[in-house]
Symmetry: C2
Subunit: 288 residues, 2 copies
């Protein structure tokens, strides 16, 4: 048996970085005190979801990983609590800006960076204005407690993300997220969003942990955003599935907090082998 | 609006071909009388699930598509009722045997054959003994009512199957199936099985229709099967999802019958475009 406890943090994000980092830390400490070893925070939790509007000055939010406030703070927290923390942040690398995750191991070291492969673009999720499509490829990280794969938000809608992480040795999948209302499409995508990732878990026989933010985030008209007025309501609903895609823990749309689930990585591996799916893949038939 | 009604037939299979074909026809007629235009029968419904045991003489069950009893009969039925019928059958092509589907259009013509890509192999699902892995690749078929993609049973566990059919223009996905108990693994895979395919629907914004058989099928020890004794209980639970993976119709584990659901193919296409998933795919990042 190789037991590991995974957790997701669900939180509201204010317009003050220090406040968000401190609040995230408070929830990470709660998760750790309850036994969590790998703890997922939501996407870009340092700020409100700035991609709701297009503003050139927001490019200045991006920093190299060595200078990002959340990464710097959580390297200390990871080491102190002996927990693994995938930290989502807005990354600057030379002339390129990425939507990235730094995977911090339980000794506080940074195991590496994954840059979001799939970039969405809709009226209030205007990420193509900010982020270059990731150039790292899908990456797995051998942490102290498990080999994990991380996708970032929109990546979670693509079976390719989960599959490539699984084929590359992932044992657990993580998706930091910022998703909520669709003011124009008028759809509530929550159940759809969950089913896609339950499908990834079921197809890869691998638990999925997804952490989303909550709260109403408003944008007011100004010259810098071209007079846009809008408001996104983030729907939380963070969850953890088991290796058949069944929900083992989940949150509502409005509460802050932490959810946890414990898995036996050896048992999951045995299930993957005995079910035979990876044995029977035929990559030669998958060329487009 | 481009409305289409899809249906799944759930049935028990006896050890008499003529009886199974007549019974399948009865249920197809019922579905058609209720408005179904594309009707899916279960996998290899002409016989009991012979792959439960390894017997050389069962190789003789395989026939070229032009000589298969079910295909011959259902070409007439398709034409008479103006319905599209994907017909699962055991195919012989020279020295090779395949687990295949012939897609019959509403005029009775055969649009082509798809050969099962992924072949399972477990104690009582011994398909690698019978079937060469399919050499057709994933295929879509432009039928009178919709462009459809068909995977066969084990294919349904692979996100690659659904994705390639969707990328190649499918509007609806079909999975004829023969799945039931796992005498050795002692798992009930039903919910897992459904979640994988609900995930395909959700990830590809495309309805999935799955038809399974029901009933206990027993194997008795004899020289030809090496003294094997076993029994598989097929669990039915056939279903139809919408384009977000939500179940729109489903059956229980023990009843025979027909389920139907109606979809607007134009609306589904608009949803696929406005959601942006296919726009944002990055096939250059998917090389293994």
């Amino acid at each position: 048996m190789r037991m590991v406890t995974t957790a997701a943090v669900q939180m509201r994000c204010s317009d003050r970085i220090e406040e968000n980092i401190a609040h995230a830390e408070e929830l990470v400490r709660e998760a750790a005190s309850r036994g969590a070893q790998i703890i997922l925070l939501p996407e870009l939790f340092e700020r409100q979801y700035f991609c709701q509007e297009r503003r050139y000055e927001y490019y200045r939010f991006a920093k190299p990983v060595e200078e990002n406030d959340a990464v710097l703070r959580f390297r200390e927290v990871a080491k102190e609590l002996s927990v693994v923390l995938p930290i989502s942040f807005f990354e600057k690398d030379g002339n390129l800006l990425f939507n990235s995750v730094a995977v911090l191991d339980a000794d506080g070291s940074c195991l590496g960076i994954y840059r979001k492969t799939h970039i969405p673009d809709d009226h209030y999720y205007q990420e193509k204005f900010y982020f270059t499509p990731g150039n790292t490829g899908f990456r797995t990280f051998k942490t102290r407690y498990a080999t994990i794969g991380v996708g970032i938000c929109w990546d979670q809608w693509f079976p390719e993300t989960a599959r490539f992480l699984a084929v590359n040795g992932a044992e657990l999948l993580y998706f930091p997220t910022a998703i909520g209302s669709e003011p124009i499409l008028s759809v509530d995508s929550m159940a759809h969003w969950r089913r896609v990732m339950q499908g990834h878990a079921a197809a890869n026989l691998m638990p999925v942990t997804a952490a989303n933010r909550i709260g109403l985030e408003e944008v007011f008209p100004c010259e810098e955003n071209g007079g846009q007025k809008s408001a996104l309501e983030f729907y939380g609903s963070s969850f953890i599935t088991n290796g058949t895609g069944e929900l083992k823990a989940s949150m509502d749309r409005t509460s802050e907090g932490v959810i946890l689930a414990e898995f036996d990585l050896d048992e999951l591996m045995e299930n993957r082998l005995s079910w035979g799916l990876f044995r029977d893949r035929r990559p030669d038939m998958y060329h487009e």
